[in-house]
C-alpha cells in the first residue's frame, strides 16, 4: 500500500499553540514524482506544516502520512527515505562541510561520498572548511547537500533559495529538476515566487494556516481570473489579498 501511496497526505490537520491556530484543517495531497510548491506569506504556517510532516511538531488534530507512513510511529523509515533542508537552521560551526554530510550518510547507513554531494551543490572547493566560516549562501548549499544524502524519495525543502546568489538559485533549481527526473518527489516552501514558477508542477497557497488555493499555475490563473500572462506573484497577491480583504478569514 505504501509503495503507491502519495508522497504526502495531510487530512484535516490542525496545529494550535494556545489560542493561536498556526495550521487550520489542512487537507493536502502531494503525488509521487511531482514538484509541489508550497507558498504563503510570512507566518502563513508553511514551516509549521513541514514540522508536522517530519514529526518535529505534533498535530493538535488530524492525520499526516509521508510516503504512506505515519511520521511519528514510523519516524526511522520516513526519515531514511526523506531528505530535509530546514528553514532557519544552524550548523555545527566547528565541523567541516565533509563532516556534516558524512554524519548524515552514516546515520542513514549509506556510503554516499561527501565530496561528490558537496561538488554537486557548488561547495567542491570548501569540502574541508569549517561551517563556522561559511556565508549564509554556503550554509544553504551545505544543508542542501545533507538533504540529498541517500537519494531520498522525497525532498522537503523549506525556503531553499534563502540567502543564495543567482548562481546558487540556479543550481538549486537544476538540482530540483535532476531529482524529479530521478523519480523523487520535491515539496518546497518558498516566498521567492519567480523561482516557484520555474520549478513547480503544482502550487498550493497557504494563508493564515489554510490552504486557500491549489493547482497548476494555469488553474490558479483561471481561478483568480488573472490574465494568461499573470505571474505566480500576481496570482499569489490576488489570492492572499482576497483572503485578507475577507474579514471572516482573519483571526
Amino acid at each position: 500500500m505504501s509503495a503507491s501511496a502519495p508522497a504526502i497526505e495531510a487530512d484535516a490537520v490542525t496545529k494550535e499553540y494556545g489560542d493561536v491556530r498556526a495550521v487550520d484543517s489542512l487537507d493536502l495531497v502531494v503525488e509521487r514524482g511531482e514538484t509541489y510548491g508550497f507558498l504563503g506569506p510570512n507566518g502563513a504556517g508553511k514551516s509549521t506544516t513541514i514540522g508536522l510532516l517530519l514529526d518535529y511538531l505534533r498535530p493538535t488534530s488530524g492525520t499526516v502520512r509521508v510516503l504512506g507512513k505515519d511520521p511519528r510511529r514510523d519516524v526511522v523509515e520516513v526519515h531514511d527515505r526523506v531528505g530535509v533542508l530546514p528553514d532557519r537552521f544552524g550548523l555545527y560551526e566547528d565541523r567541516s562541510a565533509r563532516q556534516h554530510v558524512a554524519f548524515v550518510a552514516e546515520a542513514k547507513r549509506v556510503d554516499d561520498a561527501p565530496e561528490s554531494l558537496l561538488e554537486r551543490v557548488g561547495l567542491g572547493d570548501a569540502v574541508d572548511d569549517d561551517a563556522g566560516d561559511f556565508s549564509s549562501g554556503m550554509e544553504q548549499r551545505l544543508a542542501l547537500a545533507m538533504a540529498l544524502v541517500g537519494d531520498p524519495e522525497l525532498l522537503i525543502l523549506d525556503e531553499p533559495f534563502s540567502g543564495l546568489d543567482p548562481h546558487g538559485v540556479r543550481r538549486v533549481r537544476d538540482i530540483v529538476h535532476e531529482e524529479t527526473q530521478r523519480g523523487a518527489t520535491v515539496f518546497f516552501s518558498s516566498h521567492v515566487l519567480g523561482q516557484v514558477e520555474l520549478v513547480c508542477d503544482r502550487i498550493g497557497v497557504l494563508h493564515e494556516g489554510r490552504l486557500v488555493a491549489e493547482g497548476t499555475l494555469d488553474e490558479l490563473r483561471d481561478r483568480t481570473e488573472s490574465p494568461d500572462d499573470a505571474t505566480v506573484e500576481d496570482v499569489f497577491v490576488e489570492l492572499t489579498d482576497a483572503r485578507v480583504d475577507d474579514g471572516g478569514e482573519r483571526r
Partner: protein, 293 residues
C-alpha cells in the same frame, strides 16, 4: 545501533572541547594531596583516595557543564532541525546524546585517574588493584549519573540561561545537602543534629548518602575499607580513630554495630543507578511527548 553515529559525534564533541580536559586537569590537580591522615588511613592506597578527592569535587560540576547543553544548545543554534531529521526515534536521539557525552566525560576522567595512579605509583609505590578498579567503575557510574542529570536539564528547558540556572541550583543543593538534611531532620523530629555526636538515625544517614557524590563517597570508602560514610576517606578514618573528634557523619561512629541494612555501602550502587535511570526516563518522557522544537 542506529544511534551510534550520533553517540560518536557527541563523544568527539566532548573530547575535542577544552572543558573535558580542564576537568581532567582539575581532578588531578585537586586530587593529589598527600596527607598524613590519608596515609595513616589507607597506606599506599592513598593513590586511590586521590581519585576520590578529585572526582568528588570536580566530576559532578564538570560532567554537568559538559552535558547540560547537549540538547538546548542544538535548540538555540537551530541544528536540532538536522538532528531531528535523522532516521532516529527521539528516544534514540536521547540515548545517542547521553551515551556519547558519557563516553567523552568518561574518557577524560579515566585519563585523570590514570594520571593520578601514575603519580601515586611513583610517589608511594604499588597500590591495590581491586580498590583502584572498583573506584574507576564507581567513578564511571557517577559520571553516567551526572551526564543523565545534565541531559535531563537540557531536555526540559527551552533556554540556555534556564538550563544553566538549573545546573547551578542542582550544585547548590548538593553543596549544602548536609545542612539541608540536618535542618529538615531537626524540623521533623525536634532532635538537634550535632555532627560531632550524630544521632543514630537510619533515615538521617540514608538521606545524607542520597546525592550522587554522597553515594560515590560511600562506595569508594567501602572499596578503600575506611568506614561507612559519605565523607571523604581521610575524614572518615580520622573520625574513627580513637580519641579524635571531627564533625563527620560516619555509620560506625554513630551506631553500635553496622547500622540498619539499608545503610550497607553496596546499596550506593543502587543510588547511582537510580540517578542515572530516573533522569533519563524523565528526559525521555518529556522529549518524546509533544513538539520537539
Amino acid at each position: 545501533m542506529r544511534w551510534s553515529p550520533l553517540a560518536r559525534s557527541e563523544s568527539r564533541t566532548v573530547l575535542t572541547s577544552k572543558g573535558a580536559w580542564i576537568l581532567a586537569f582539575l581532578v588531578v590537580l585537586w586530587g593529589f594531596r598527600p596527607t598524613y591522615a590519608g596515609w595513616d588511613a589507607v597506606g599506599r592506597n592513598i593513590t586511590v583516595g586521590y581519585i576520590q578527592i578529585g572526582v568528588d569535587l570536580f566530576l559532578p560540576i564538570g560532567a554537568l557543564l559538559v552535558s547540560y547543553q547537549s540538547l538546548i544548545g542544538e535548540r538555540t543554534t537551530g541544528s536540532i532541525k538536522f538532528l531531528l531529521g535523522l532516521p532516529l526515534t527521539r528516544t534514540q536521539i536521547l540515548l545517542g546524546k547521553a551515551s556519547g557525552r558519557f563516553v567523552g566525560v568518561g574518557a577524560a576522567i579515566v585519563a585523570a585517574a590514570l594520571a593520578l595512579a601514575g603519580i601515586g605509583l611513583v610517589e608511594h609505590g604499588p597500590f591495590g588493584l581491586l580498590p583502584f578498579l572498583g573506584t574507576l567503575v564507581a567513578t564511571l557510574l557517577l559520571a553516567s549519573a551526572m551526564v543523565a542529570v545534565g541531559v535531563l536539564v537540557s531536555t526540559v528547558t527551552r533556554r540556555t540561561v534556564t538550563a544553566a540556572t538549573g545546573v547551578f541550583a542542582y550544585l547548590l543543593v548538593t553543596l549544602f545537602w548536609t545542612q539541608i538534611v540536618t535542618s529538615v531532620y531537626t524540623a521533623i523530629t525536634g532532635v538537634p543534629v550535632d555532627p560531632y555526636e550524630a544521632p543514630a538515625s537510619g533515615p538521617l544517614f540514608l538521606a545524607l548518602r542520597l546525592t550522587p557524590d554522597g553515594a560515590y563517597n560511600v562506595l569508594t570508602n567501602w572499596l578503600l575499607g575506611v568506614g561507612n560514610s559519605a565523607e571523604l576517606f581521610h575524614i572518615v578514618a580520622t573520625k574513627l580513630a580513637p580519641g579524635v573528634s571531627v564533625n563527620a557523619f560516619v555509620v560506625e561512629a554513630a551506631f553500635d554495630g553496622g547500622g540498619p541494612w539499608y545503610l550497607h555501602p553496596a546499596l550506593s550502587v543502587v543510588v547511582l543507578l537510580v540517578w542515572m535511570g530516573v533522569p533519563m526516563a524523565l528526559a525521555r518522557r518529556v522529549f518524546t511527548e509533544g513538539d520537539a522544537l
